[in-house]
Amino acid sequence: MKKQLFIYIAAGLLASSCGDKFLDVDPTDRFTNDTYWKTREHAEAALTATYAALLEDGLYGSNTPVMYETASPNAYNYNNSGGFNNLAQGVHDAANTAAVNNTWRNAYLGIGRANTLLARIDGVTMDETLKKRFKAEAKFLRAVFYFPLWNLYNGAPLILQEPDFAKHATLPRNSAASLQTQILQDLSEAAADLPLSYTGTDKGRAPKAPHWPSRPGYCCTAADGRKLLMPPKR
């Protein structure tokens, strides 16, 4: 009896996982950035997520275009939602007005997703034509996301690589002019690989702009009167 007990104890001491291996656990409900980026499906879902950033607050989601109107005399925001009344009163700053942060933040949300796709998609095995189109869509979207940073903030950090905390966290603002250059470059590079239109369940993707001016022309005017000059159609 006594001998047996000793054996059990010794066995227990050894069997009970004295090692580090016992502690290895992998997530089973999600990919990590290193296990992702293998198939066309992965690339497509990443591109879809880049489009999804358009629906965020401060861009085109949460009634943002209408809410911006309430900062003007055209509409009134009775409960100061998003702090747009502060903009109207001129008492806004980043601490008291959510709208100031929302547009900035979510523009970079989209930029980060587009940058990640552009950085990683080359490692994905998939149809090369489609890969080109995905890249072109991502560039188009990146231009769309940089637009408010050019338009409303008059310059912002210009980041074209996959988000990296160590490298990007303290980057200073670039000038509005350098944003403009990048926006136009992305648009024209995108135009080269985008179709004129889509059908079926691809409707809603970025096309080659049908109304792209055939001569240089101004497309948009910023709040302070700056104008975005579009290059001619290629």
Binding site: S16, V25, N79, N101, F165, H168
Partner: protein
């Protein structure tokens, strides 16, 4: 394999501790118990306490042999003794042991004296227990006496009053009214909850029936807690459940019934006309048109129909006096070899909020058996079943605006619960910011949210006496959890009391059912070897062990819509939009630990311990941590120059140092996870999108808390007066925090990183005086803890979170904003002051220009308040006279503030209510001395509601937590009925509160910006304790 073996050998080599020696508490030492060795003479007698009460279960041993017996229920015993001179040793827990030399065979009437003060006390420590006299660390403990008969619905509330332990009960929601426990301040920016172990195994306090608790010990310093390693940084709470005592079979019943009401609710304007006129005045001050026309106000004034022209007090409608009752039954007993205790508990608590309630069923069983002289086994089973129900629109204030509690706090006097025909009413006076009237009464009565949880802890242990005085013990425990939570969202129609128009209630979830199942299994297995040896005056003890723990949790949620009526409440009853989600997760811990203690002659005490912990929450290479501790004590009163001194009866000096860990971060925080659900619709088809949403830091590892502690225990006048002083410095390094990342990094959530250091310095004083004057016995106890929290290092970073800041040199989460220095009295004063704002008018708050640049802006912000109490204190008063006993317990906090921004805390916020003082004590040209600035709505005029010291409120309070009067019926009355003890009592909980904080209960979550709380109950109960 080689390193693996090494680790194991290391663990096995440093052996083991702490059994306690001491006659006062030996229970399992009567083998063989039989007294047939002695045939020569028979002796009998009784054993009683100094008060004359007969003591059952007292150990009577024949000195020098292993023979003996226990006293029966009436205190009597009889023994066969050899002829001639024999010495009998009488011992009983909590009493001084007594030796009697027997020569004849006359009956013995033994009177045992209570152990002086706490000296005989044994406290539970990590993986064992220790005599209080030989402790070198800082622990606080309380036993069931302190808890008896308090209407505690959650075991966490029981910790209130322990020195250095701040217990904050923030809500009274039935089934979810647990208190927050903070031991010696906040040392982390993460979860600051202590590790709770029930009978040695991790188990939530919420699922322990308070009446099953034998004792609670809080390990406060590192020397006591280091043996629990990487989860012990916030302190450790050890709960021991009741077990049986050798002696006669015994049946205990205790029960009470009572009534609860909200302890403190905010005052608000319930007169509709006053409300409307006030709002118009606020808008006029902002330069805006009136919201309520004069015609409407006049109509309201003369209107007679109470359904159309009400002055509703929503607190009065939604809160009630609610019943509570609890019954506990325990069978216990045993013989010298086997003891057992089995209990059943039942709690039925109605909530203060209508249609909210909780029921709890609890069982607890403890069996210990000595199989042979060397082998002892035991089993412990705790099972708790909670069934709580409330509105589907849950009352949890964490729902803020969305929850039912939020709707009650924003109810308006013009709104009415029922229309004339008894149907639920809509509002007819339109209130901007409050466009949808979600009738709180309708939401409370229709639909439901039911939460059922079942948790069982079953543990088995085996203890075997090995050669050379080494004892082996293994414990295998399974903590099982199952829960089912169901929401039945109703559809509700509201009738407009003025027009009779019926419309469905808007802005609530669509009618449907949502059901979640949860399960969890947490397996714990630990092995220990303990050793103890007395060599002359040297006493040596050791403990070595290892443990593995495995946590596996899962959940599954399904929901469905398209129901044809509110009365169908099953998932299968719906037809549209079915949805599912679910997950499971696994985490593991492996640990080695050991402890050595030594004392010389009970005078010089020393102890060292360590734990080597590995956790799956961190990446390989950052997983293992080592947590050592050292402590020493000197019992000066045992020195010859003090021994026998009548004034100074106990004097002990203690010092300790040690390190603890905290691993409390989400699983897989060390990898970049790709999140799904970032979907977008193309051509009418939704495509699923996926993106990284958080950056990670693969080098993340645990926090390390280093605690240095020095203490002095003093007992004066035969321990009538006891004093305990502790000074500590608790420094947490490598604090884990999810850091925020500038949005330009892809707007990713920041990683969990080890970012800096926080120190908590402070002291604790406990004093108690116990004495007797004739028939009157009395005791006075008090404790005070002072704590200074300071962030010492953040690598220069500053973390903002809403209106709080965490930066070097100030406390964690200090309130941060402008400094209000008064109210502008004139345009002239505004012109002469630094520029506040273009819209500033007389009556507005004047802010200090701290950076002297003549403009008030964000750069003028300073620390304006502290959310961690500097002083916490409590005192207890007790008196006994014959069978009567009166006890009172007070608790308070001092030097702490709270910052409120929510509905009702600021006037007319989001179309919610207003407190009366804003209508009477706000600035007007006629009332320039008013306390409050001019009346404006919180949303319409940002200037006065900027984060500033004006809105900081003092949250100090003193509360009579509990007062109890009980009467023990005299023994002579009970004897005839065969009753051992019968006690009747009345009890009041949270009865009186002194505080300047009036916007609700001051015992609150201090960093919360709104005042929406499920009110804490003020409870009055009466009940009995019966022992057969």
């Amino acid at each position: 394999m080689l390193p693996t073996l090494k680790k194991c050998c290391l663990a096995a080599a440093c052996l083991a501790v702490t059994q306690y020696a001491g006659a006062a508490s030996i229970v399992y030492s009567y083998s063989p118990p039989v007294n047939h060795f002695f045939q020569d003479k028979k002796i009998g007698g009784t054993v009683a306490g100094a008060d004359g009460e007969k003591l059952p279960g007292v150990s009577v041993r024949v000195k020098g042999t292993s023979g003996g017996t226990l006293t029966a229920a009436d205190g009597s015993f009889s023994l066969q003794l050899p002829e001639g001179k024999t010495t009998l040793l009488f011992s009983y827990t909590g009493y001084q042991s007594q030796e009697i030399t027997v020569t004849g065979n006359a009956p013995l009437n033994i009177v045992l004296q209570l152990s002086a003060g706490e000296l005989g006390e044994v406290v539970v420590v990590g993986y064992g227990q220790q005599k209080k006299t030989s402790l070198t660390g800082s622990v606080a403990s309380l036993d069931q006496k302190a808890l008896a008969n308090r209407p505690i619905t959650n075991a966490s509330q029981a910790l209130q009053g322990l020195p250095g332990v701040h217990v904050n009960q923030t809500k009274g929601r039935p089934g979810a009214d647990g208190a927050n426990i903070r031991i010696r301040g906040v040392g982390t920016l993460n979860n600051s909850n202590p590790l709770v172990l029930v009978d040695g195994v991790e188990f939530p306090l919420n699922d322990v029936n308070p009446s099953d608790i034998e004792s609670i010990t809080v390990l406060k310093d590192a020397a006591s807690a280091a043996i629990y390693g990487n989860r012990a940084a916030n302190g450790v709470v050890l709960v021991k459940t009741k077990s049986g005592k050798a002696g006669k079979f015994r049946l205990d019943y205790n029960g009470y019934t009572g009534v609860q009401q909200a302890a403190q609710l905010p005052d608000l304007v319930t007169d509709a006309v006053t409300y409307m006129e006030g709002k118009n005045r606020a808008l006029a001050n902002e330069g805006k048109p009136a919201e309520y026309s004069q015609a409407l106000i006049d109509e309201y004034r003369v209107g007679a129909d109470p359904y159309i022209y009400p002055d509703t007090d929503w607190f009065g409608i939604m809160f009630r006096n609610a019943n509570i009752q609890e019954h506990n039954l325990r069978f216990s007993g045993g013989n010298e070899k086997t003891t057992f205790s089995v209990s059943l508990g039942y709690l039925d608590q109605d909530g203060i909020l209508i249609n909210s309630q909780a029921k709890k069923y609890a069982i607890n069983s403890n069996i210990n058996s000595e199989i042979s002289r060397k082998l002892r086994i035991g089993a412990n089973l705790i099972g708790t079943y909670w069934d709580s129900e409330e509105s589907a629109y849950t009352s949890d204030e964490s729902n803020g605006e969305g929850g039912l509690m939020g709707l009650i706090y924003r109810g308006l006097p013009m709104q009415v619960p029922y229309a004339q025909d008894g149907t639920y009413a809509d509002q007819w006076v339109r209130v901007p910011g409050h466009n949808f009237f979600r009738n709180p009464l309708a939401l409370a009565k229709e639909g439901f949210h039911q939460n059922i949880t079942f948790r069982a802890l079953s543990s088995l242990f085996l203890e075997y006496q090995l050669p050379f005085g080494i004892k082996y013990k293994t414990t295998l425990a399974a903590n099982l959890f199952y829960g089912r939570e169901k929401f039945a969202y109703p559809q509700i129609n509201l009738t407009n009391p003025k027009t009779g128009v019926i419309a469905p209630m808007g802005n609530i979830p669509a009618r449907g059912i949502s059901q979640t199942s949860r399960d969890g299994v947490n397996i714990t297995n630990f092995h220990t070897l303990t050793y103890e040896k007395q060599l002359g005056r040297h006493h040596l003890g050791g403990l070595a062990g290892f443990s593995v723990e495995r946590f596996n949790d899962g959940d599954f949620t399904a929901s469905n819509q398209g129901y044809l009526g509110n009365e169908i409440t099953e998932l299968n009853g719906g037809s549209t939009t079915p949805q599912v989600s679910g997950k499971s997760s696994l985490s593991k811990l492996a640990s080695y630990f050991g402890r050595v203690n030594y004392d010389y002659n009970g005078k010089y005490l020393a102890e060292a311990s360590f734990r080597y912990d590995g956790s799956s929450r961190f990446a390989s290479g950052h997983r293992w941590g080592f947590f050592p501790s050292l402590s020493a004590g000197w019992r000066i009163s045992e020195e010859n120059f003090l021994k026998g001194n009548n004034v100074l009866s106990n004097l002990k000096l203690r010092a300790s140092w040690g390190q603890l860990g905290n691993q409390n971060i989400p699983l897989f925080s060390y990898v970049d996870a790709v999140s799904i659900g970032r979907n977008y619709s193309f051509g009418g088809t939704i495509l699923s999108g996926a993106a990284v949403s958080q950056v990670s830091d693969p080098a993340v590892t645990w926090e390390t808390t280093t605690i240095t502690n020095a203490g002095l225990d003093i007992g004066l006048l035969r321990n009538k007066l006891t004093l305990e002083l502790d000074v500590f410095n608790k420094v947490t390094d490598d604090i884990l925090r999810q850091v925020s990342v500038p949005a330009q990094v892809g707007r990713l959530a920041g990683p969990y990183r080890n970012i800096g250091s926080v120190s908590n310095k402070g002291f604790e004083i406990t004093a108690a005086y116990t004495d007797r004057a004739g028939e009157l016995g009395y005791t006075i106890g008090a404790n005070l803890a002072y704590l200074k929290n300071k962030v010492t290092d953040l690598n220069g970073a500053i973390y903002y979170d809403g209106n709080t800041i965490t930066r070097e040199g100030t406390p964690i989460d200090a309130f941060y904003g402008l400094e209000a220095i008064g109210i502008f009295q004139s345009e002239d004063e505004i012109l002469k002051s630094p520029k506040q704002n273009t819209v500033t008018k007389p009556g507005d708050i004047k802010y200090r220009d701290t950076d002297k640049n003549n403009v008030i802006d964000n750069n003028d912000r300073v620390i304006i308040g502290n959310s961690i109490p500097e002083l916490t204190y409590s005192f207890t008063l007790g008196a006994t006279y014959k069978g009567l006993e009166l006890t009172a317990f007070f608790q308070g906090v001092q030097n702490v503030s709270t910052y409120l921004t929510g509905n009702l805390a600021q006037p007319y916020k989001n179309g919610a209510g207003v407190t009366p003082e804003w209508l009477t004590d706000s600035w007007t040209p006629e009332n320039p001395g008013a306390r409050l600035p001019r009346l404006t709505t919180a949303n319409g005029y940002p200037q006065n509601v900027q984060t500033s010291s004006f809105w900081v409120q003092d949250a100090s309070y003193l509360r009579l937590k509990n007062i109890q009067l009980s009467y023990n019926l005299p023994q002579q009355w009970l004897k005839a009925a065969g009753i051992q003890q019968l006690k009747v009592f009345v009890n009041a909980q949270n009865w009186v509160t002194f505080s300047d904080f009036k916007l609700g209960d001051p015992e609150r979550n201090l960093t919360k910006g709104n005042i929406i709380d499920y009110p804490i109950a003020r409870t009055a109960t009466a009940g009995i304790n019966l022992t057969l």
